[in-house]
Amino acid sequence: MDLRLTDQQQAFRDEVREWLATNVPAEALPPSSTAEGLEAHRAWERRLYEAGYAAIHWPTAYGGRDADLLTQAIFSEEYARAGAPHRINVLALGLAGPVLIDYGTEDQKRRWLPGILSCDEIWSQGFSEPDAGSDLAALKTTAVREGDELVVNGQKIWTTLGRFADWIFALVRTNRDAPKHQGITFVMIPMDSPGIEVRPIMQINEDPGFSEVFFSDVRVPVDHVVGEIDDGWRIAMATLGYERGTGLGNHVRFSQNVDELIALARAEGADRDPLVRDRIAQRFVETEVFRHHTYRGLTRMASGEGLGPEASLNKLYWSEMETRIFEDGLDLMGASAQLSDEADTPSAVDEWHKRYWYARASRIYAGTSEIQKNIIAERVLGLPKEPRG
């Protein structure tokens, strides 16, 4: 066991840290859900791109740095520590790009990868549907081949940046007669195609970050299909593996959250209250445990072992922990937690609420906590499956 960095890793850390110290905007950018904020975020992404930090995990051949997992983790940690802006094109950098690299044709790579890297083209993800939910493969959006085109009809939901995205990578059903997990195709669709309508979803935290996307006879060239027609489920499943590198800096964020909780307790004059102290200490314990768990998983992945179903332990852990952290913050505020804006608190109450609802959403998206528990029970513990209804 050796948690020190090599000289080379240390040098990379120093380089990243210095670059971020120089380049991270002093003021937080406006929210990317506004047109103004989006431009500011695009400019920031462009800066990252020019410095070679846009996608360090991509192969060098496609503009990345071929960074190994540890190097990615170092970058993610420093990025989180610096409080740098959230990444807006993560779905393209983390999912669409790697899918193209692994499954795309050379033409497809040339067409799409550069725009992803430079953030000239923003991507959204078209997997979820209203009637599918946790049961992703129950998707109903259809694509019927007519000559060299697919004609797409249906509806996607929970697409990020839907209003601003240039492209959507979507799963569509190309064969209704095939079993549920077959007959699904992975296709890239321009968001300005005729027949696409985007309706923002107003969320309960009043954030319009997600949209519904409706497809009516949307015509897509067949060469926008990645992989083979009817073979999209396999690719969709492969994207789950790409997510393994995405949470590497999360533990830094959670530790920062506990620091904010401590600052809040002090500001509320509650830091001598033993009940508050006990809860803050418990949140600290949980974030520390998560940090060690992250490093442990990192080592396993770096040595070529997949996390496999144990990724569910990770997801379940942090989403539940995050909810508790923000709920504790609201409890600390007491009756003031009902306000939606209060300048007195160190972290504005608004911001707490927003993050609290996000945290609660994290128990739903990317596999609900209940589904994670099923996976752990059946695939980690080996318990017998439920009888099918």
Binding site: I157, M202, I204, E268, G334, L339, D341, D344, I364
Partner: protein, 338 residues
Amino acid sequence: MRFDFTDDQYALRDGAREFFEGECTPEHVRAMWEHETGVSEARWKQLADTGFVGLTIPEEYGGLGLGAVDLVLLLEEAGYAGLPEPLLETAAVVAPVLAAHASEATKDEWLSRLATGEALATVAYDRAGDGRWLAAQGHVVDLVLVLDGEACHLVAAEECTVEPQATLDRGRRVAALSIDTGDATRLGDAEAAAETRDRVAAGAAAVLNGVSRRLLDLTIAHVSEREQFGRPVGSFQAVKHKLAETKLLVESARPATWYAAYAIDEGRIDRARAASVAKAYASDAAAKANHESLQCHGGIGFTWEHDLHLWLKRASALQRAYGSASNHRARLAAALLD
């Protein structure tokens, strides 16, 4: 020994339920979110006309002269409906405290106007960090009952500095009040203050129980209909057990709250304990209902257009207002251990 309501009390409850089903639908509640003041004068007037607002006001002032036990089921229905108007503050707290502790002159000045719905009242119980008071619907009320430690004060709203606040739950807005209190504003003795505290706690518990019931009902309806993996979500044991646990808490909170109302009406020796027990337990039950209902709804529960959040936010506010569960436990611990 009869731990139940009378037929008359159930009839009042049914009347309130019917009224809310007509006049306080989710669409009505939603309309208040966008409304200028967030309070419907017309609905309040109607509520007053039916006698609900003046339920606890003596008959000589135009009320029904009834008690906390008569009111408690109405408060629950108000929570269930998501009523924006300050029925809790006016009818469960200010009116009976005035009736019991105010001078004849003060009663003459206010009670009839409260009974007719002409005047609204609220309670300044929760303090903001800066010495101001947070008061529900403080921006539209006429009268404020201030609970300041061991003393109660009565202040006309026009004598306060009133600053409306942005609230998470725009169906129950809060204003920050700066209030000058002194000997001139004092209402009654320490007993008036103690009684006020207990009425606030028991009343808030009753409203919370209604909110929790609504959260549970919305969720039962959702999981009975929504299918995943080819079967209703509500047929999964994990979902069942969550909702069974929630039901347990919510159903248990109700008799405890009813008892607190009874203890108030009867001046029972355990009145203060009963009120804290009710608010502590109802708050925790509401927190559980909040958690499980949103989780069982999945993504749809996070959308503005779904009604769930109207009650999620009410639950979140009332759970922490008027003394959180841990505040009330601290009060109980002092009674038990000191």
